[in-house]
């Protein structure tokens, strides 16, 4: 069996983390809020301790805005990227951990130019905060595959379970598939494939004594 990763919008306590590990899960992606501090229910330092304490790897993804009602622009990317890094830091994630931008469901009429400015501003702030930026490519957003590869500053992509553009040359480093119930919670299943250049995302793990 390949290395199974799950993403979930449900907070994971230590018993659930242990059950996930026993089920063969090796890593988890949990949510960060769009503003600081993290909302209750999003990733906390206590949850980080529970997850990595069970021997799981941990990455984080920042919530998308309500579908079809938000307009991507540079100022928003700056604010949300800064919040992502601050929330990840507060949650105790190791510097260099991959933080994913959940990019989907922009307002009708949003342009690729707006989206590029938004994503690149987010990327700058996440890098400035000491983390690795990655893009979760979801449905109903204006970027083509060419835009994703040639016009974004980040270098690692996560393919959603929806129908989304291919990323030319590089491809996706991680792929999401259908949701299921596991250890009593609803999770999406993911696998790390590595992209065509051999890049894979990075996660936080418990340090060896």
């Amino acid at each position: 069996m390949g290395a199974q990763i799950v993403d979930t919008d449900t907070a994971i306590a230590a018993p659930t983390a242990a059950m996930l590990a026993a089920a063969g899960v090796v890593g988890v992606v949990r949510y960060l809020s769009r503003a600081t501090p993290n909302h209750p229910g999003d990733l906390s330092a206590a949850e980080t301790a529970a997850i990595i304490g069970a021997g799981l790897g941990l990455m984080a993804v920042q919530h998308a805005a309500p579908p079809r009602r938000w307009w991507p622009e540079a100022a928003l990317g700056t604010a949300q990227g800064r919040a992502a890094a601050a929330n990840a830091h507060d949650a105790g994630l190791s510097a260099g951990t991959t933080l994913w931008l959940d990019f989907e469901e922009t307002a009708p009429g949003a342009t690729a130019a707006d989206a590029i400015d938004y994503c690149n501003a987010w990327t700058r702030e996440v890098i400035a905060g000491g983390f690795e930026p990655g893009l979760y490519v979801g449905p109903n957003q204006p970027l083509s595959g060419e835009d994703l590869y040639w016009r974004l500053a980040l270098k690692i992509y996560w393919r959603s379970a929806a129908i989304v553009p291919d990323v030319p040359a590089r491809g996706y480093a991680m792929r999401q598939s259908a949701p299921r119930q596991l250890a009593g919670i609803i999770v999406d299943q993911d696998v790390v494939l590595g992209d065509a250049f051999g890049n894979r995302p990075h996660w936080s793990v418990i340090s060896n004594p």
Binding site: M1, G2, A3, Q4, I5, D7, D9, G24, V26, G27, Y31, A35, P37, H39, P40, G41, S44, A45, A46, T48, A49, I52, G53, G57, L58, M59, V61, H63, A64, A65, P66, P67, D90, G92, L93, S94, A95, G96, T97, T98, D102, E104, E105, Y136, G138, S160, Q176, D188, V191, V192, L193, R200, P201, H202, W203, S204, V205, I206, S207, P209
Partner: protein
Amino acid sequence: MNRDHVVAGTAGVSTTAMLATVLAHFQNVPSDVATAEAGLAVLALGAMAGLAQALIGRPPDLREAPNAAKGP
């Protein structure tokens, strides 16, 4: 993957303000008193977060996520 619609309406509302609203509702106290009590509750939450950091003990390490073909 967008499942945060429930909390979307609370974006921009501080934890202290939300707690104050809840305290005022259940305790039937003036909102300024509730706000002060909520502030203490937020401080307590902050202390809990620090405790959680202590539970981690050491800063986490950073690893490359394993390729699916190289699973356990």
